[in-house]
Structures are given as C-alpha cells and as structure tokens.
C-alpha cells in the first residue's frame, strides 16, 4: 500500500497492531481451546480409563473445572433429593467416589484451553457396594450405578445457573479462595467462561423441562428416563406426556448380545447391538456431534472391546453350595425358559410379563427413525435403533444378577427375594441407593433408618414405578425360594 511507504509511523502502528493481534490470538487459543491429553495415570489400566478417561464430552457438555469446583460451596442448599437438602458436595448426589480421587468415578477432567469436567459411561455404570454399614464401599465397574441421582445432578447445575448469585463477582471470589489463577485466566473466567457457562446451562433448562414437571415423580437414585433423554436431546422432539423411568443397567459382558441371533439391547429391545448402544449413550454424554469423529469412533471401539470382554462380577460373599445345587433344578424348571434359552435377550410381548408399561410408551418408531437419521448425518456408522414401536421388555441375561438390584426394568422390586413374591406382597414403598448389601434377600438394604436417610424413596404406585408383573416362581415354597436364591448368586 502506498500509505505504508509514505508514512513509516503508520506502518509501524500497523505492524504493532498486527503483532499484538497475533499474540492475543495465540494466547486466546492456548487458554481457550488448546486440547491437552489427560495425565498418564488415567489410562494406566483399562479400569482407570473406564472410570476417569475422557470420551470427548468436555467440548460441549463440559463444565469449566473451577466453576464445577466452587458450585457446591456457593450453592450447597440446592443439592437435594426427595426435597431434602443433603450435605456433602457432589457426594450428596450418590456418585461413586473413591478415596483420594479429585473427582467421582465417571467424572473426567481434561484441559481444552482450560480444565473442564464432563462425564463418561462410568457415572451410570459403576456400582457402590458395602458389606456392612461399618465398611468402606467397593466399586464394581460396569455395574449399575444404583446410588447415582442423575436427575438431581442435571437439576443442580441448572438451578445454580438460574440463581442470580451465579455471577462473576461471587464465583471469582470463591475461586480465588481455592486456587491462584493468573491474570489471563482470571480475565477469561470473569468475562468469558463464567457468563458463557451460565448461558449454556440456562439453555439446558428448556431441554430439560420435563424433569421439572410436578406431575412426574423424581427418578431418584439409580434411575433415569432414558428414552426421553434420547428424544429431547438427540432428536430435539417436542415434550410429550410419557415417562419411562428405568434402572441403570449393567454393561459387562456385552459380547453375549448377538444381534444376528435376534438379541436386542436396551430394556425394550430398541437397539440392535452393543456398538449402537455405546455410541448412542456416548453421544448423549457429548451433547452434540463429536468434534473429532475419528477419535470418537476410536473411543467407542475401545469401550466396545473392553465391555464386550469384561466378565460379570462374582458374588463376593459366602455361598451355600449344597443349597445352590438344590436351587439349580428349580432354576431350570421355572426360570430357564426365558432366562437361559433362545428367548433370552429378545423382547417378549408385554402381556406375557405384565410389568409396568411406562418405559415402552416413552419410545416409538418415528423417534427411532429420526434418531438414526441424526446419527447418520454425523457421519457415524452403526446398525442403530430398531425402527419399530416397542412391544415388550427383553428377557434379561442373568449374568451377575446379584448385583443388579433393584429388579425389573424400572427397579421397582428391591431384592430377588421380593421378586419371588407376588406383586401384592412386594414392598410398596422402599428406599433406593443405599449401598449396604443384604445377603439374605439378595439386593441392597432398602428400608430402615440408614437406607431412608441415604436413599431416595420409591413409591411403586407412582407413575412408571409399578412393581407388578413377572410373577414367576412366586408359588414356590419358602424353602425352594431360598434354594433358588442361592443358585442365582452363582450366576
């Protein structure tokens, strides 16, 4: 340009501005977007990777680490279950949390410009279990997270964002009490990260409108309204009137599912195979199309391999072998027709089983077609969801059944012993999500002072929570039931 040649001071200013702009862009990239790998310990073993490894959810669904960190200190009164305030930070949500770990299991920390927290599969698929009230929990990966209150977590973040105290002044004051951010990070947090996070969380409120519906019961610990999550998030369907709470499933030994032999996955058989289920669930955690498709597919592939081969956990308490042997013929006579046969893994007509229909009604063919289309548009390859209206629940494989309490697809029966009673004699109200194991009834302790304090109340008369159906083996004698239970512990 001729201006440049005529007036050297103009040129100098132009160069200076240019250099500054490049510098600002570099710093902005470094502090705002540059992706850094997680520390080595995270992927040291397949188990640590499953528990703490990022699946890429930090990009869109991630919460900035320091905001995540200070929220329970600023808004402790919003951590609630069954309407009660529960002390304990994020531990109040019942998330499995190992001693010495900075984050609960299923929470991932990754630096993308700045540290962010998101979730992986383990948050819903790790079981906390204690032998007695005077023991620390053990954590069994790929088991159902019967203690995790997913709905309370969703609500918590939104409720915080809705509070006028969710602002840069108050959050920064708390953040400065716990860490020493440099000037650039402070400015970024104050002027970008905090306001943007608030906005993003508030946007979720509309998507999550149905979890605030007063006419629906709370999911409580260990349950989610899985297919409505898919509907409202993946395909952005308008809110309908269905409610289909389900128990968190176990995800071990997935190689047993053979789609070519007619096996279907998800409680109502709505998905073809493990690959599809893992991919769809992971997309749910990402909350958006993957930023890097190849990396995402590699994660799904790893999970598919790991969970495919992961054996079910063996019963950790003593088993009466003679009693179990006596129970085996009872199992063959009364259970095997559905649970150890070519029927296993396939949906059975609802009329045959008679369990609560809420979950079936929450999904339909149109949603399946739409969801398959959405995933296809992301360029992801999978056999996908079954494009048909569901008609019944899958006859479950019983590997590791001892750990999958409470039972039935909606977790409406606390123990296996209760499941062997006719519906009228099963507990009408019990408490979910207390992790002391009941070896006698085979399941978790679901009543009593401690279970009531820690757990969430499930009224089986509430919507989607019916404990009717599956009245099989309920006519056996008490002795036969004991023997059958003992045998079920061996599966």
């Amino acid at each position: 340009m001729s201006i440049g040649t005529r007036k050297p001071w103009v040129r100098a200013i132009v160069i200076l501005v240019g250099v500054l702009a490049v510098l600002a862009a570099l710093i902005g990239y470094d502090r705002g977007f540059r992706e850094q790998p997680q520390p080595d310990w995270v992927s040291a073993t397949p188990e640590t990777r499953f528990k703490y490894g990022s699946i890429g959810a930090e990009h869109d669904a991630g919460v900035p680490y320091w905001i995540f960190y200070v929220l329970p200190r600023i808004f402790p009164e919003k951590l609630r279950q069954d309407g009660r305030i529960v002390p304990g930070g994020y531990a109040a949500l019942g998330v499995p949390w190992e001693l010495g770990q900075e984050l609960p299991i299923g929470f991932t920390k990754k630096i993308i410009g700045f540290p962010r927290v998101a979730n992986n599969c383990a948050v819903c698929h790790t079981t906390s279990i204690r032998a007695t009230a005077d023991a620390n929990p053990s954590f069994i990966v790929a088991g159902p997270a019967h203690t995790t209150n997913v709905e309370a977590f969703f609500r918590y973040l939104i409720d915080c964002a809705k509070d006028p105290r969710f602002n840069a002044d108050i959050l920064m004051a708390e953040i400065n009490r716990v860490t020493d951010l440099d000037v650039i990070d402070r400015l970024l947090y104050r002027f970008f990260i905090i306001p943007i996070t608030k906005k993003r969380l508030l946007e979720r409120e509309a998507q999550f409108a149905w979890i605030y519906r007063p006419d629906f019961p709370e999911w409580g610990r260990g349950r989610d309204d899985a297919m409505n999550l898919t509907k409202y998030f993946m395909i952005r369907a308008p809110m309908d009137d269905t409610f289909g709470p389900t128990d968190m499933p176990s995800v071990w030994n997935l190689a047993k599912y053979r789609w070519d032999q007619g096996h279907r996955m998800n409680y109502a058989g709505d998905s073809h195979d493990a690959w599809s289920v893992i991919m769809d669930s992971a997309l749910g955690l990402l909350g958006a199309a993957p930023v890097n498709r190849d990396e995402f597919v590699a994660q799904v592939k790893w999970l598919h391999g790991y969970l495919g081969r992961l054996p079910p956990p063996t019963y950790p308490f003593p088993i009466d072998r003679a009693q179990a042997a006596a129970g085996k013929p009872l199992f063959v006579a009364h259970c095997a027709r559905c649970h150890d046969s070519e029927l296993t893994g396939r949906p059975l007509p609802l009329a045959e089983v008679g369990t609560d229909r809420g979950r079936i009604d929450s999904w339909n063919m149109a949603a399946a077609i739409k969801a398959n289309q959405v995933v296809k548009e992301m360029g992801l390859d999978r056999r996908g969801l079954v494009e048909a209206d569901p008609e019944g629940y899958v006859a479950a494989f019983l590997d590791g059944i001892w750990l999958k309490a409470p039972y039935l697809h909606n977790g409406s029966v606390p123990t296996l012993r209760d499941l062997l009673e006719p519906a009228a004699r099963r507990p009408q109200v019990f408490w979910r999500g207390y992790d002391v194991y009941d070896q006698k009834k085979v399941g978790f302790v679901s009543d009593g002072e401690a279970a009531q304090r820690v757990g969430t109340r499930l009224d089986t008369r509430s919507r989607g929570g019916g404990n009717q159906g599956h009245e099989f083996g309920t006519q056996l004698s008490a002795g036969e039931k004991e023997a059958l239970l003992e045998y079920l512990k061996t599966l």
């Binding site: 304990g88 001693l99 010495g100 860490t179 020493d180």
Partner: protein, 506 residues
Amino acid sequence: MNESQTPPVDDPWKRRFIILFVVTVIIPAFVALWLLRRFGEDVPVDHESAVEHFKYGSTGGEHEMGFPYWIWRALPEVCPQYLPGRGYQSLGMVFERNADGSERDVPVGTSRRRYQGIDRVFVNCAVCHTSTVRVAADQPAQIVLGMPAATFNMKGFEEFFFRCAADPKFSKEYILPEIERQGGQLDLLDRLLVYPVAIAIMRDRVLALAGRFDWVFRQHEWGPGRVDTFNSAKVIFNFPMAHLDPREFDAPADFPSIWQQRQRKEPREMQLHWDGNNTTVEERNKSAAFGTGTTPPTIDLARIRRVEDWLLDARPPAFDRFFAIDRQLAARGAALYKQYCAACHGASGSDFSGEHVGRVVPLAEIGTDRRRLDSYTYTLAVNQATLYAGYPWRFTHFQKTHGYANMPLDGLWLRAPYLHNGSVPSLRDLLEPAAKRPPVFHRGNDLYDPVRVGFVSDQPQVDGRPLFRFDTRLPGNANSGHEGRAYGTELTAADKAALVEFLKTF
C-alpha cells in the same frame, strides 16, 4: 506565521508542557509509588530461632483471616461481656512476659503480618499446641511448647469474635477510641481511612463466617483443650450443617501433642489423627493449617516448613525436671507396661516400635465414645481429596476408618486428660474400669498432680476463675472403653501405682 519563524527561548508551551508533565506523570508516579509501599507489602514478622517461630511465626493465615492488630487488641475491652473474664487470658491463652515483667502484647500462638497496608494478627499452630504447667499452686506457670493447649477454650474464642462482630459496639466509634486509649498511635490515614474500612470489612467477614459456624453454638460445651475437628473441617466446604445426620455432631476431641513427628513417618507411616484418617504428616499438617486461616493460594509453605522441621525432632520435657520419679517402682512398672501396653503404644516414650502402634483398633474392640469417629464420614473424606486441587500436594490420603488409632505415648504426662475426648482426668483414673472413673471433673487447671498423673481436676476454680465442669454423661463425653483385663484396669492397686510410675518416664 511570525510565531513559527521565531521560536522564543522561554516558550510558554514548554512551561505548560513541564507543568502538565509534572501534574499528570511525576506526581501520580510518586503517589503510586507511595501507595504501593503503603499498601503493597506482604511481610510477616519473622523470628530467628525455630522456637520463637513456632510460638509467633506465620502460617500465612493472616492473608485471609488476619484481624488488624489494633482491632485484635481493642476487642476484649470493646466486648468484655462476651469473655469469661479479663482479656484473652480468660480464654486460657498463654501470654509470655517481657523483660520488664509486663505481659506481651499478644499470646503465644499468634503471628503478625503486614499485608495490604495493615498489621494483621491471627493464630498459628502453637495456639492449640502450647500450654502451661504449675508444679504447685504458688509456683509460676511454666510454658511447654508442643503439648496440648489444655487451658485454651477454642469454642469460647470463636464465639467471642462472632458475638462481638454482631454487637453494635463493633464500629469505629467504639474501637478507635479504645485503640487510642491503649496507645495505638494510628496516623491520619489509618484513623480516617484504613481502620474504618478494616473494621467494616472484618465485621462482614466474621459475620459471614459466623453463619457457617452457627452449628458450634448448638453444641455441648467443648471446654478448654478440645475442638470439634472434623465438623469444623466441613465448614471449608460450606456443608449445610443444619442438615447433617445428628449423629455426626457433638464430637469434640482433645488437642494432641505434636512432638517427635519423625517417628510417626519413619520407619513406617502411622495412622494420624485420633481415628487414624490420614497417614501423611505433611498432609495432616496442611489440613490442620486450615484452622489457622490458611487457604491454598495464601498458605505460607516456607514458614510452615520451618515449623514442620522443628517438630520432627522436638521432644517433650521430662517429668523429672518437674517432679521426682521413684526409679525402683518405675522399674517394676516397666515389666507391666511391656506386658500390657507396649504392643499398642510402643516400647517406651521415645521408642515407638510395636506391632499395633499407629494402627486403628475397631471401635467395637476399644469401646470408647463413638462420636468423634462418626463425625468423620466417608463423604467428608472424598471431599477432602479436592483440597489443594491444582497443586502438586493435593490431598490424597484421607480415608474413612472404623475405629481409633493407637497413639505413641511421648510426653504422656502432659497429655492429660486422657482418651481422644479427654474424658478421663488422669492416668491413674484411666487404669480404673469406666464405672469407677470420675463421672464429673474439672478441666482447664494447669496445676499438676504428680501422683495421679494429670492436671488437678477436683477444683471448680483457680484464682477465682471458674474451671470447666466436664460431665462424662453428655453426648461425646463418654469415658467408657479402653478397659478390661487387657487394658490393665484389673491390676492390683500396687501394680497400677508401679505402672503409673513407669509412665512418668515417657
């Protein structure tokens, strides 16, 4: 045109420029420099010797929690109604004397730091780990560093500040004249600006903290020498205390002694704290430092390190420097000690070897009061693992246990009253079954009883100052447990006397 052709020597523009430059640059620069010097400092008062540093050195807690020095001085006179007696002395804080015999301006266990233009005072490690001993009623109190602060009433200390800050007299109209009366010669800026602002800020901060410590007011009295350690720790996370399981409350624990830390980490790491919930000395120390007002960004690690280094090999004073020991009787007691006590409590007061030393005994076995154990929850333990996040020394060793840890017994004679909740006044009483231990006694006396080995506990007051009446029937105060044949409570009176005599050598 003319003007530009003949620039005059004394150009008015040049003069104007100089004036402008001085006004806009030079003067502001000087003002800025002066302000920087006045308000930019962050300088603690340091002490050459490790001992003085322990008594008066900084942990960095003054940054966040420091009370302006002169306010600290003034408050006991501004709010005397919230103290049990005169001055901080009435809370059992220990004051050394100056060369001229007068009391020092601040007690042992407080540090000073100039920060943001104001001298600040807050407590350090020594406030809970220093006390006094008198060998006879008419003898002077001798200060012992590292022993449990048996006379310090921490709950009273907290409540004093919370109540005073909420009092209408907590204002510059009452505080500034008191400062002047005590000889605080504040300069104009301090009087007009710094202290009025500091008073307002301190009031806000203390009241905010008072909200978080509201639960303390609803606890049974801890009395001197005790603190509810881990309910206090829940305040760091702002747990909504009103919603805790009620069984977690009323869990006061005796202050521990803090000598000989090296032997607690080498050759093997012991389970520290009464319930053994941490195995790392440095992590335990940083955790305790929260009690001195530190936060991860403001902790003064270098100065805490000085204290830590000193504590590694600090030793308790020997009993026989204060009272005589019957060596023959003690020798007889040594055999009993070896038989009954050594496996859990170490070979001697200086040799901590023993199979079970520093390890947790399940509650059902030890049978002591369970509240302190129940106050420490798994939920708290995992939350503590978030402390110091982002720093290489993030806490990673807190664990939930289900019993109490076997302590080494260094300086045992100075660690009365006994058991984790200080529910048994003397060693001799501890050798009785719980039913025969004193159900009610008095704590906070520094007069020593060399026969029963413990502080005199049967007098309701000392020098007209009432002592704390400890009722073992209140929640958290049970004196049960550590009893039965294995614990020596079935020995003959003569054997018990011999054993106690031997324990004096620790």
